[in-house]
């Protein structure tokens, strides 16, 4: 049984269609990436999953049925726009949020100590939240999401505002939770984190599902579309190339759909004075896939508008 099933969901705000016919499933014990550019409809989809908004059409099932109050207590949600009582002290605020999820105050306090130690916040328990740094507030927000030991975690941009040490810590925690059998839905723009953590993803653009499946399979499907080149020559203005990036002496080329890599090789070799040291059909990064799909969508949209 899927932990979350979103089926043909639609949501409009006035004339704006925020989500159109989006469907996906999230399985128990997986880290699922909910991706998309800004304004794609990710947050609206999350809010519908959590019964903050109701869909105009379609169905959403959480833990095998409609989301009720008991099921809400099994969810930990970290919204993109963080929310804590700035003028209250850290410990009572976190304990309050945990008790609202059904655990006793004593249990919340007991668990809180170990989380505060893990995030190196134990000295700030009695400080007002407004007196904490942005990074500390972010860590506090993560604790608020985890303190009641949820079975389903919905985290929106969990790494924003964290330094590399804490980013690694949060990453480890997310992996630990997966090992414990928890389900994690993660929305982020940090594609390398998605690549490192997520089993499966859904990519939403302009409210529609444009990509959905296992990360490895998706990358393999897009493998023919990426090239890694080293050498000297003009690798920027090649025909059939969607995007070119230069990093650490390597040119990473994302090809337009339908472009044959051999045609690109021929175009390079036709250049005068070209010196080719490496030409490799590369597995694209998830970021390449993201950019390719979104740009293709935008291109098609432009074509439709013109015609």
């Amino acid at each position: 049984m899927a932990t979350v099933t979103v089926l043909n969901v639609n949501k409009s705000f006035g004339d704006v269609k925020a989500v159109r016919d989006v469907s996906f499933e999230v399985h128990p014990g997986e880290i699922f990436g909910l991706l998309g550019p800004n304004g794609a409809g990710k947050t609206t989809t999350i809010r519908m999953m959590l019964d903050i908004f109701r869909p105009d059409k379609g169905t959403i099932s959480v833990f095998g049925g409609k989301l009720d109050e008991a099921k809400k207590s099994r969810i930990g949600y970290m919204p993109e726009e963080r929310g804590l009582y700035k003028d209250l002290k850290l410990e009572p605020t976190l304990v309050y949020f945990a008790t609202l999820k059904g655990i006793s105050e004593a249990t919340a306090r007991e668990r809180l100590q170990s989380w505060l130690e893990r995030f190196d916040l134990q000295d700030y328990a009695q400080k007002k939240i407004q007196d904490l740094s942005k990074g500390m507030q972010q860590k506090a927000q993560i604790i608020a999401t985890l303190l009641h030991d949820p079975d389903l975690l919905v985290v929106d941009e969990p790494f924003s505002g964290l330094d590399p040490v804490n980013t690694r810590l949060v990453k480890e925690i997310i992996e630990d939770l997966r090992e414990q059998g928890k389900t994690i839905i993660m929305s982020t723009h940090q594609m390398y984190q998605v690549e490192a953590l997520c089993n499966r993803i859904v990519l939403i653009n302009r409210g529609r599902t444009v990509l959905y499946g296992e990360v490895d399979v998706i990358k393999r499907d897009f493998a023919g579309n990426a090239l890694a080149i080293e050498g000297h020559g003009d690798f920027v203005n090649l025909p059939g190339v969607l995007e070119t990036r230069h990093h650490n002496g390597t040119w990473n080329l994302t090809l337009e759909p339908g472009t044959d890599s051999q045609d690109v090789l021929r175009a390079i070799m036709r250049q005068d004075g070209v010196k080719l040291e490496r030409f490799e059909i590369a597995e694209p990064s998830l970021e390449d896939v993201f950019v390719t799909v979104v740009q293709r969508e935008e291109g098609e949209r432009g074509d439709n508008a013109r015609s």
Binding site: L50, I52, E69, S73, I75, G83, K86, Y96, F97, L100
Partner: protein
């Protein structure tokens, strides 16, 4: 509704508000102000007789310095000094030996004519009253002590309603003061707590905690819990102010032993107040929540809440009418209208009997409107909470009430 979360929100809200500086200032500030004003009044009153004696020139030959008016134990009378003629009295006044002097004309008994002469400052009312009491005591010197006492104290009128359910003693101001004090307390409570409620809702919108709360509890749990927390804050204020009032009464009674003479504890009034206070408070809390949910920030909410405050405090504009014609149609309408009911009833209580049917109808209306307002607030809250930066239109509010969003 899960009771657990409802109580948690109420407890959280209560603790959050009572720890704020504005609450401490608002709650302790009012009694502190009363104490200071009372203390200043007492000091001024005690010093009002003035240290200098009051002189008199008795051309009528009716005043005997040994005949003094009856006094309470320990009560001082202003010092009196007799002069044989006006020139001597004038000289004493200029030498600042006396604060003023009275001149009784020869035909005083027939005409009642008397003259008061003073220098830079008019003698205080207390000093003047003391002299009049002295004069009255001398005029009555030949009468029996019972008649003397009756004339000095004046009549003792008890005003009783036709059905015998209520009565006032004309001499006892507390019977009138208590209802007015209750009306003013509610006025302060509305002003204070409405602001807290509005702040609580807009704060959670501004600091984004609302999105986490929305995934932890139902809007009605959140709004109901907040309303209860706020009511507890109101009751705490009431308890502190009542305790201060009682303390002030104890102090005042020790200084003015007659204060409680003829004062009966108005149990029926206290009962009616308690019955109306909580639903009226909940109504206000519900309305403020609805405003807080529909606006984008606290400042915007304050402008609208000012109008809502007016709905509750409106009867004060008609205080003269309520005193003069407490049973006029407009006053009855204000009694029945849910937001104005509490203050109108308390103000009317001091002046008239509020018919039982009006109390019953009014209470039913207040309670049902209060329940409805909390329900409406929860519905508006549901859609309003996540529309950051967007003010809810009337259409949106109607949509939410119909449960379409």
């Amino acid at each position: 509704m899960r009771g657990h979360n409802f109580w948690l929100v109420a407890k959280h809200e209560y603790a959050k508000i009572v720890k704020t500086k504005s609450f401490l200032l608002g709650t302790l500030g009012v009694p502190a102000l009363i104490v200071v004003v009372t203390a200043v009044s007492v000091i001024v009153a005690l010093g009002q007789r003035g240290v200098l004696p009051v002189g008199y020139v008795d051309h009528a030959g009716i005043l005997d310095a040994t005949v003094l008016p009856p006094r309470e134990e320990g009560e001082e009378l202003v010092a009196l000094r007799a002069f044989s003629d006006e020139a001597l009295a004038q000289a004493a006044l200029e030498a600042e030996e006396i604060q003023a002097f009275y001149v009784l004309s020869k035909d005083y008994v027939q005409t009642g004519q008397m003259k008061l002469v003073y220098g830079q400052k008019r003698p205080s009312e207390v000093a003047r009253e003391d002299f009049v009491a002295f004069l009255r005591a001398n005029l009555l010197a030949q009468q029996s002590p019972a008649i003397q006492k009756r004339v000095q104290e004046g009549p003792w009128v008890t005003i009783r309603s036709a059905d015998g359910s209520r009565e006032f003693d004309s001499e006892n101001i507390l019977s009138f003061v208590v209802p007015y004090a209750a009306a003013f307390f509610f006025f302060f409570a509305v002003m204070n707590s409405g602001g807290y409620m509005l702040q609580a809702i807009t704060d959670e919108k501004e600091n984004r905690t609302v999105e986490i709360l929305a995934t932890s509890l139902r809007p009605l749990e959140l709004i109901g819990g907040k309303a209860l927390g706020l009511m507890s804050v109101g009751l705490t204020q009431l308890a502190i102010w009542t305790a201060t009032g009682l303390l002030a009464l104890v102090v005042a009674t020790s200084m003015f032993p007659d204060l409680l003479n003829g004062f009966n504890i108005p149990w029926s009034f206290i009962g009616v107040t308690m019955l109306f206070f909580l639903p009226a408070y909940a109504l206000m809390a519900g309305m403020m929540t609805a405003v807080g949910s529909a606006v984008t920030d606290h400042r915007q909410g304050q402008q609208i809440s000012g109008i809502f405050n007016l709905l509750f405090t409106f009867p004060f504009f008609f205080i003269v009418l309520i005193m003069a014609k407490p049973n006029s149609p407009l006053v009855v309408a204000l009694t029945l209208f849910p937001t104005t009911a509490f203050i109108t009833i308390t103000l009317r209580w001091a002046m008239a009997i509020v018919p039982l049917w009006q109390l019953l109808v009014s209470w039913v209306l207040v309670v049902s409107t209060a329940v409805f307002s909390v329900w409406v607030a929860a519905r508006i809250f549901r859609i309003g909470m996540l529309r950051y930066g967007q003010r809810l239109s009337f259409k949106h509010i109607l949509t939410s009430l119909q449960g379409k969003e």
